[in-house]
């Protein structure tokens, strides 16, 4: 028996409905952070889980990305006799793009999935309904702390990733490429201007919001038992990763327009 194709109208309607639900959830989470009660205990707990818990993967990813970047940059720059510019390239790449994006993708893989599965399990076991029945707003108690904690911690994790990348690139430049350490770090420092830092520090705020709101949205929408939890987890990681990449392009274009580089 042939599988019936979904109606295009129904498909579009379902996507628009999902977008509306997501916007409402994000809006309610944001509003919850402006009015009491604010669950500070849950916010600090999430900061620990998301920030401190993601430290190893962010440090390792940043460090080795910097190492690889230095190796690849040196190969390309050698053709123009500009190996000494390796530091410039590593610093600009790590600060403007790779630091925030890779940290966002790593934290998305670790935390968007965690949020979707945790909230999804609570949803299918009626714990979310129980919370509402006990007079507690699940958006205020579960979603808002995750959003605030992710936005705050991703900002610092991205800075750490940038530093680790520049440090990794420096180690490769000194020990494998035979460059002078002082010259490398001077070139990284001189390559960066405020506009680059603004770009690198603005992106994590948006990425943090995407990761947490998408993770929580898919968790809160979970249906269909344990299979549904698995599906939500996968969808949360896929959607947040794609949105990070797409929004990176839009943000970059927008910030270049404002900052001039």
């Amino acid at each position: 028996m042939p599988i019936p194709l979904p109606s295009p109208t129904a498909w579009v309607k379902s996507k628009l409905l999902a977008l509306q639900e997501y916007s409402l959830l994000a809006g309610r989470a944001f509003r919850s952070l402006l009015t009491p009660p604010i669950y500070w205990g849950d916010i600090f707990q999430q900061m620990d889980l998301i920030g401190v818990g993601s430290l190893p993967i962010v440090v390792l990813t940043g460090f080795f990305t910097g190492c690889v970047l230095a190796l690849q940059a040196a190969t390309a720059l050698q053709e123009f006799g500009a190996v000494s510019k390796t530091g410039n390239l590593v610093a600009l790449s790590m600060v403007k793009e790779l630091g925030p994006v890779l940290t966002g993708l790593m934290v998305s893989g670790r935390n968007a999935s965690g949020m979707a599965s945790e909230l999804g399990s609570m949803r299918v076991t009626e714990q979310i309904d129980a919370m509402r029945a006990l007079g507690v707003d699940p958006v205020r108690k579960l979603v808002a702390p995750r959003v605030l904690a992710t936005v705050f911690m991703l900002f610092w994790l991205s800075i750490l990733s940038m530093c680790m990348g520049i440090m990794g690139g420096g180690l490769v430049a000194v020990f494998l490429l035979g460059l002078d350490g002082h010259a490398y770090f001077t070139s990284t420092y001189s390559a960066l201007v405020w506009a680059d830092l603004w770009q690198g520090l603005t992106k994590p705020v948006f990425f943090g919001f995407i990761i947490s709101s998408i993770g929580c949205y898919f968790g809160m929408q979970t249906k269909g038992g344990t299979q549904g939890v698995g599906r939500s987890t996968t969808e949360a990681v896929v959607a947040s990763s794609i949105l990070i990449i797409v929004s990176d392009f839009i943000l970059t274009r927008f910030l270049i327009g404002i900052l001039g580089r």
Binding site: E126, A130, A133, L134
Partner: protein, 277 residues
């Protein structure tokens, strides 16, 4: 047995006004109509048993009473307030007067029994010593004082239901909703749970709605009272029936019976006779 007036006044309710009132309520999920033009009332001090085949809309009805779902049409009044038109923020306040026991207990699995039972008290900012005292009292009521430090994963199904009942009654609610509190339990544990429901009914005279798939549980509640001295269920003398225990039977989203135990047992409706048989 206290009168309806005494019971209502004890819970700050008007004796003449229904605690729960459904007016022509309908709700559908993905085109499937789960409840159709449902209307009924529950008076103060009443224990309303919800019976009917699985998938008949009983759990949906209970969630509508607590405002966890919104009807597609019709109006729902709880404590005289129309909850079907109430924003979620105001519903949170109203729900503080309602205790709910979920089908699968719905205990928070990352916190222990004490924190589960004290959840509402902690949210209301009750002092830790006072909250602990009330948790111990609620757990003693369900005979689970020894399990205070355990986590939900360490409890049996029956124990979880009892913790769920303790969590629902700790604030002394004016209305309790039991969603299949004996579902999936063995007969002995089911009897323990029903005894607790009767204890809450006869000690606190709390208005309640209870879903059950076990007819014997429903009739046990209708024919027994809780003896506080002996701490067990005793049959009512001379075959009497508990006058505040009434029945509502749903089938395929429609009410097929709404009345007393006596009216139910004497019903001439062929479907009801077959269902009771």
């Amino acid at each position: 047995m206290p009168s309806i007036k005494e019971t209502a006044l004890k819970h700050g309710l008007s004796p003449d006004a229904p605690v729960v009132s459904f007016d022509d309520v309908s709700i559908s999920f993905e085109g499937n109509e789960v409840l159709r033009n449902v209307s009924f009332t529950v008076m103060p001090g009443e224990t309303r048993m919800l019976l009917g085949p699985a998938g008949g809309g009983k759990s949906v009805l209970l969630k509508l009473v607590d405002g966890l779902l919104k009807p597609d049409s019709g109006r729902i009044f709880v404590f005289g307030e129309e909850i079907s038109a109430m924003p979620e923020r105001e519903l949170f306040k109203l729900r503080r007067r309602i205790g709910m026991v979920f089908q699968e207990s719905a205990l928070f699995d990352s916190i222990n029994v004490e924190d589960n039972v004290a959840y509402r008290l902690n949210e209301e900012g009750v002092a830790p010593e006072e909250a602990h005292r009330r948790v111990v009292e609620a757990l003693e009521f369900v005979e689970l004082g020894h399990a205070i430090e355990k986590f939900p994963s360490e409890l049996s199904g029956g124990m979880r239901r009892r913790v769920s009942i303790a969590r629902a009654i700790i604030t002394g609610p004016d209305l309790i909703l039991y969603d299949s509190p004996t579902g999936g339990l063995d007969p002995i544990t089911s009897t323990t749970i029903i005894a607790l429901v009767a204890k809450q009914r006869d000690v606190s005279q709390t208005t309640s709605l209870l879903i059950t798939h076990r007819l014997q549980d429903a009739f046990t509640l209708a024919k027994h009272y809780y003896d506080q001295k002996e701490q067990r269920l005793e049959p009512l003398p001379d075959g009497e029936l508990e006058e505040n225990t009434k029945f509502l039977i749903l089938n395929e989203g429609r009410i097929v019976f709404d009345g007393t135990t006596l009216e139910l047992t004497h019903s001439e409706d062929p479907w009801i006779r077959e269902y009771l048989a």
